[in-house]
């Protein structure tokens, strides 16, 4: 490609051209910071058990722990940073316990969205013809089938063993990936394919597969990444509602914590104040995690594609 003059090489932004510095804008940094906190949480249990909770680690067990010294549920205190729930479990410990599966869902969903949309979107947008006709109709149809609702249909009433993090992430990722994500990536592919450097590559004798992988895909990563991040937000929320609604799994999810608090407050309505700390811990964790992915997605879009201002989703 060295022989191709600068003016026909096109100007679509790639990571390399934009540079890593502009990539690290405030939104992305903020999102990564929140994600870092959650990653810290995943390793916090053994650390805390060895240090702060070393006196009585069994009290802080997320599944069987019980503090005999106080009545439950108890509000946040020095011993229990986020309080305890009605069964006496430490809420902070539950939060730690619920973090890895939720992160797994987000990662599985994000990577399957990226894979599906890059594959279907780039081929459809580059090849056009009947392939494009089929893919774009399929993605239009899939936008109509909300991935979240599909996850509810498959997952409600099922235990974690039957329908765990991997399955939630995959179901959500494939459906969202075929729908809005493919539509976005396909539109971006058509913009890229109109650039002169694609024509130049074709004149140079490049085959379809080579042009797609070497010249088209690098310009699509940012669009796919944005969709993956926004999709991961949805997957986290879907899982939270699933764990809220089904309440059959043995493991705590963030949604189940909210459910816990709501059940207790309706049982004790008028007798005891609602245990806001349990609901807030669960809902806050969901919101923060979702916000982290969303911020990274929006930040990526702003950094890599400032002109279009995220007009296509």
């Amino acid at each position: 490609m060295t022989a191709v003059p600068e003016q026909i090489r096109g100007s679509a932004p790639t990571v390399r051209r934009t540079g890593w510095r502009t990539l690290l804008n405030a939104k992305i940094l903020f999102g990564i910071g929140i994600l870092g906190l959650f990653l810290l949480l995943t390793v916090a249990q053994p650390l805390l058990s060895a240090t702060v909770w070393a006196d009585q680690p069994q009290v802080y067990d997320p599944r069987f722990g019980f503090d005999t010294g106080i009545t439950h549920p108890s509000a946040p205190s020095l011993d229990h940073w986020l309080g305890t729930n009605s069964l006496g479990r430490d809420v902070f410990s539950m939060l730690i316990h619920a973090t890895p599966p939720t992160l797994l869902i987000a990662i599985v969903a994000a990577s399957s969205i990226a894979a599906v949309s890059l594959l279907a979107g780039s081929i459809a947008g580059y090849r056009r013809g009947w392939v494009d006709g089929f893919v774009s109709h399929l993605s239009d149809a899939m936008v109509l089938l909300p991935a979240m609702v599909a996850v509810f249909i498959v997952g409600i009433g099922r235990s974690n063993q039957e329908f765990g993090s991997l399955q939630v992430g995959l179901t959500f990722g494939v459906l969202y990936g075929l729908g809005p994500a493919t539509a976005t990536v396909r539109a971006a592919t058509m913009t890229v394919a109109a650039h002169p450097f694609i024509e130049a590559a074709r004149v140079a004798g490049g085959g379809g597969g080579w042009i797609i992988t070497r010249h088209v895909l690098p310009h699509l990563y940012s669009h796919a990444a944005v969709q993956a991040m926004i999709g991961a937000t949805g997957a986290v929320i879907a899982d939270a509602f699933l764990s809220f609604r089904s309440a059959v799994g043995e493991d705590y999810g963030f949604g189940l914590m909210v459910y816990d608090g709501i059940v207790w407050s309706s049982l004790m309505a008028g007798i005891a104040p609602p245990p806001w700390w349990i609901m807030l811990a669960g809902a806050g964790a969901i919101t923060l995690l979702a916000a982290a992915f969303y911020l990274i997605g929006v930040g990526l879009r702003e950094a890599l594609d400032p002109r279009s201002g995220g007009i296509l989703g």
Binding site: H137, A141, L144, L145, I153, G157, I286, T287, G309, I311
Partner: protein
Amino acid sequence: MTVTAASERRPRLPWFVTFLARRLTWALVTLFIFLTAVFFFMQVWVPYSWATQFLGPDRGEAYRAALEAAGLNRPLPERYADFMLGLVGGDLGSSFSGSPVVDLIREALPVTLTVFIAGTVLGWVLGEMLGRLGSWNRGRGAGSVIAVLGVLSATIFPPFLVFLLVRWLRGPLLELRAAIGLPTDSLVLWREAVIGEPGALSPGDVRWLIALGLTAALVAGLLVRSYGRRHQLPLVEALALPAMLAAVGVGIWAAGLGPHALDLLYRADIGASTGRGSPALALFGIVLISFGQVMLLMRAGMDAERTEDYVLTGRAKGLTERAVRDRHVARNVMAPVLAGSFLSFPTVLAGMIIVEYELEMEGLSSVLFSAIEFQDVPVIMGVLVVLGLIGVGFRLVTDFTIAVLDPRLRRGRA
């Protein structure tokens, strides 16, 4: 040039006829693919059969009888043909409990439609307005407030927090309702009075009437509003929506349905005696979920557009700042924002289902979740079909609006 000459010779149809014909063809093909996907999703991919759910691992005589009763022992292509042909005739099959799925949905749909249409339109109006003002007042007080609101709305209002918010708001709202003396059981009384009386409207009919009236009011209001904006009549622009809504309200009241409409607005619950569900609260939730995305897109679009040459030209020829902002820049930005906001349709829909579930409204959500609970496959499929139809209708309206806004898009694929 030859193309222009050829098209001038033919008698030309108005653009919207060919446009709508093209979009309707698109909608039919998309719906066909969607329905096929729904069928195979529910019959093949979803890893359960209601028969195994209740009969356990024993695959004996009882299992076969149950399969037969549900028609699940027939070959897949036959079931598929049945499903599609039934849909052509508007038949969604019957629930495992025996009642036709269409009846279940007809009962539940008006509440959902009312909330969805009103929620997305209000969310759009609010988001468009805030995004427009936010971009134009960048760096000033109002602009900064709107910028912060934008990030908050996009990050802290995913369905789950709205869910908690409406839950917390419901208590005070119920107290307020009791405090100002609104009747809490008028719907029950009215239902009892109406049942058995020949010729009387059923609660379901009244709901349909209100849903359609509200939709008509919103559409008319938006049209008048854009007329006011184009002809620089700020008063008309500001009052169009409220006036239309008020007119429909007066109409409903004059028809003698007032108390019941009010009742539907603040309560449409499953038990009809628990006094929980509140479409007004659900509406609030949907607006929260939907306005943020529109606002952020609008603001970003306006930001990109305001350095264009035509903005300078407009100012130079003495247009007011308001005219430049609303009639030139906003109009250019609106079409791509509308196109983009359609892709968040699934999020808004899923958010609505979660909020409806939380408020225990007699909407599609309650039908869906009870069907999932009882593994009632035909009902689940029926709900998905209706969601798809809502989506296609929504898409057609969006595409048409975009084509009205941007004449360049009237010819190609919008």
